[in-house]
């Protein structure tokens, strides 16, 4: 450049050097991901992780407050529709009833020192439809209640405690459905007791030693029960009509057709009766899985993994896990986005103020 301005000549030199570097860079293959994207990707990932963390925290607080509310309440009450929605269950559809489980977990040792003759320990009481299986007057709800308890017993006391389990089952009007022992120092028992004595039996079992873990589930089958009863009513009236028509049949053809229909209706009635009896039996009796072990003995595996070792179950849990993470991230973003918007507004205002200050100083 032949400019008389040294400044322009110097700048041309710098610009030219930069252009040559860029020309060389143009000739070489470009990286797949430009480096300046990385901070943005990292920031987005950090934001999502933060959102997921906040979501899990918010979620646990929400469920925690629900559990504490349930523990404080003493009167049985129907499950609120919004909590059904929270669990992903449509409260309007009867089909969801078999999936509708209510699980309460107890920390180790919390019920170890309760008096066997006393009423169920505080925090152990099932306030969520727990007593409805007793069949309170006017309460038509049907709840199947199950429980698990793992207890550490004193050294060398396994045989005595195993006998105590049988005794507890008998005292509460129930029995031991199955049992298995390992090495004479640990074993598992499946106990069936009348639902009315479920809480009492759980407390008595917890007296056998130090409770490692304890849980109970309530499965609401009320909708299924009501549905079956309605079907039964329909089929009974249909049978009555068919009987009436049978009396008026004048030909063999009519008689055969009506007989055939009557058989089908009767079959349905029998099926529904069986289902209703099954539900009643399930509701009337509760199952408690008891794990007893002396200190140092191998702890029995969880009933889930022993009883239902299926890939389908694992897949369901995996899908549930993915959905939980997504839900938590969404919840977390719900908390973060308003904060980010406020931060953005503050940033813009600060920047504007700084610009104006600079302009004023320059003027």
């Amino acid at each position: 450049m032949d400019s008389e301005f040294e400044f322009l000549r110097r700048f041309e030199g710098e610009l030219s050097a930069r252009a040559k570097v860029d020309a060389r860079r143009e000739a070489s293959p470009k990286p797949t991901y430009p480096r300046r994207w990385k901070p943005w990707v990292a920031a987005a990932a950090a934001l999502l992780v933060l959102a997921a963390g906040i979501g899990f925290l918010a979620n646990s607080n929400f469920t925690g407050s629900q559990a504490s509310m349930a523990a404080v309440g003493s009167a049985p009450r129907p499950q609120a529709p919004h909590s059904q929605a929270f669990l992903g269950i449509d409260p309007q559809t009867g089909g969801s009833t078999t999936k509708q489980g209510i699980t309460t977990h107890y920390a180790a040792g919390t019920v170890a020192n309760q008096n066997a003759s006393a009423s169920p320990a505080p925090g152990f009481e099932q306030t969520q439809q727990g007593r409805s299986s007793d069949g309170a007057p006017g309460d038509l709800s049907k709840i199947i209640r199950d429980g698990q308890i793992a207890v550490t017993i004193d050294d060398g006391s396994f045989k005595t405690k195993a006998g105590a389990v049988a005794h507890i089952a008998a005292v509460n009007g129930g029995s031991i459905l199955s049992s298995s022992t390992e090495g004479g120092d640990s074993g598992s028992f499946t106990v069936r007791v009348p639902a009315a004595n479920f809480d009492k039996a759980m407390v008595q079992l917890s007296q056998l030693g130090t409770v490692d873990s304890s849980a109970s589930q309530g499965q609401d089958v009320t909708a299924q029960f009501v549905d079956l009863k309605a079907h039964m009513k329909i089929y009974l009236s249909r049978r009555k009509v068919l009987f009436g028509l049978m009396g008026k049949a004048t030909t063999i053809g009519q008689s055969l057709t009506l007989q055939n229909q009557l058989d089908q209706v009767q079959l349905k009635i029998d099926q529904i009766t069986g289902q209703l009896n099954y539900i009643n039996k399930q509701v009337a009796e509760s199952t408690i899985k008891v794990d007893l072990h002396e200190p140092g003995a191998a702890v029995a595996q969880s009933t889930d993994s022993v009883d239902n070792p299926s890939l389908g179950h694992a897949w369901d849990r995996a899908v549930q896990g993915v959905l939980n993470v997504m839900a938590a991230t969404l919840i977390g973003l719900g908390y973060l986005i308003p904060l980010l918007i406020i931060a953005g507004i503050v940033f813009v205002i600060v920047r504007l103020v700084r610009r104006r200050r600079i302009a004023a100083e320059a003027a």
Binding site: M1, S3, E4, F5, E6, F7, L8, R10, F11, E12, E14, L15, S16, R18, A19, K20, D22, A23, E26, R355, I358, A359, E361, A362, A363
Partner: protein
């Protein structure tokens, strides 16, 4: 000598960055004059020229050939830079930083040459009027330099300060005058398109 037009050079500079340097050679002085006439400040004019070319180089891939001369696009960037300068009183160096280009001080000889680019005669009357709004040290420096037409060495002697300080006072005073004239809508030069 490259025979290609400005538009062709701009388009070619996407794949061949060195082509942009030729564009710079063609228009840098004119651009400097453009800024000098509008800012009245040699330092600001030089800085704005450098930043404009740096910005144009950095965003040369965004240039679209719409049939107009490529240099119009260049002056579009220049106008944008000038507007920001008048609005904020500062000169952005973001494009130069991004490209790794240094911000050097303006050589003393260039300082006076750039001033010569600005024909102060037509605005002398307006200057006298605007001088009243300046600080005393800036006003004295400007009067000696612009109205009396003294050299910087002599201005410095009269004011009893270093030559660099005298130059700075004149520069700041001119920048202030340029802002005042801009606010009054007085055109210091015709648009270069």
């Amino acid at each position: 000598m490259d025979e290609r037009s400005d538009t062709e050079l701009l388009l070619a500079s996407r794949a061949e960055p060195v082509a942009f340097v030729e564009l710079y050679r063609r228009h840098a002085e004119e651009m400097l004059r453009y800024f000098a006439r509008r800012t009245l400040d040699p330092e600001a004019a030089a800085e704005l020229t450098a930043e404009t070319f740096a910005e144009a180089y950095a965003s040369r891939r965004n240039y679209r050939d719409t049939g107009a001369n490529g240099v119009a696009w260049l002056y579009g960037i220049a106008r944008h830079q000038l507007g920001r300068f008048f609005r904020t009183g500062t000169i952005d160096a973001a494009a130069r930083r991004r490209l790794g280009l240094t911000r050097e001080a303006l050589p003393a000889d260039d300082y006076e040459r750039i001033e010569e680019l600005v024909d102060l005669a037509p605005i002398r009357a307006a200057l006298v009027e605007a001088l009243g709004s300046l600080a005393e040290d800036q006003r004295d420096a400007l009067r000696l330099r612009v109205i009396d037409g003294l050299g910087y060495q002599e201005v410095a002697q009269r004011l009893g300060c270093a030559e660099a300080a005298a130059r700075q006072r004149v520069s700041r005073g001119l920048r202030r005058i340029a802002l005042v004239l801009q606010e009054r809508g007085l055109s210091l030069a015709t648009e270069v398109e």
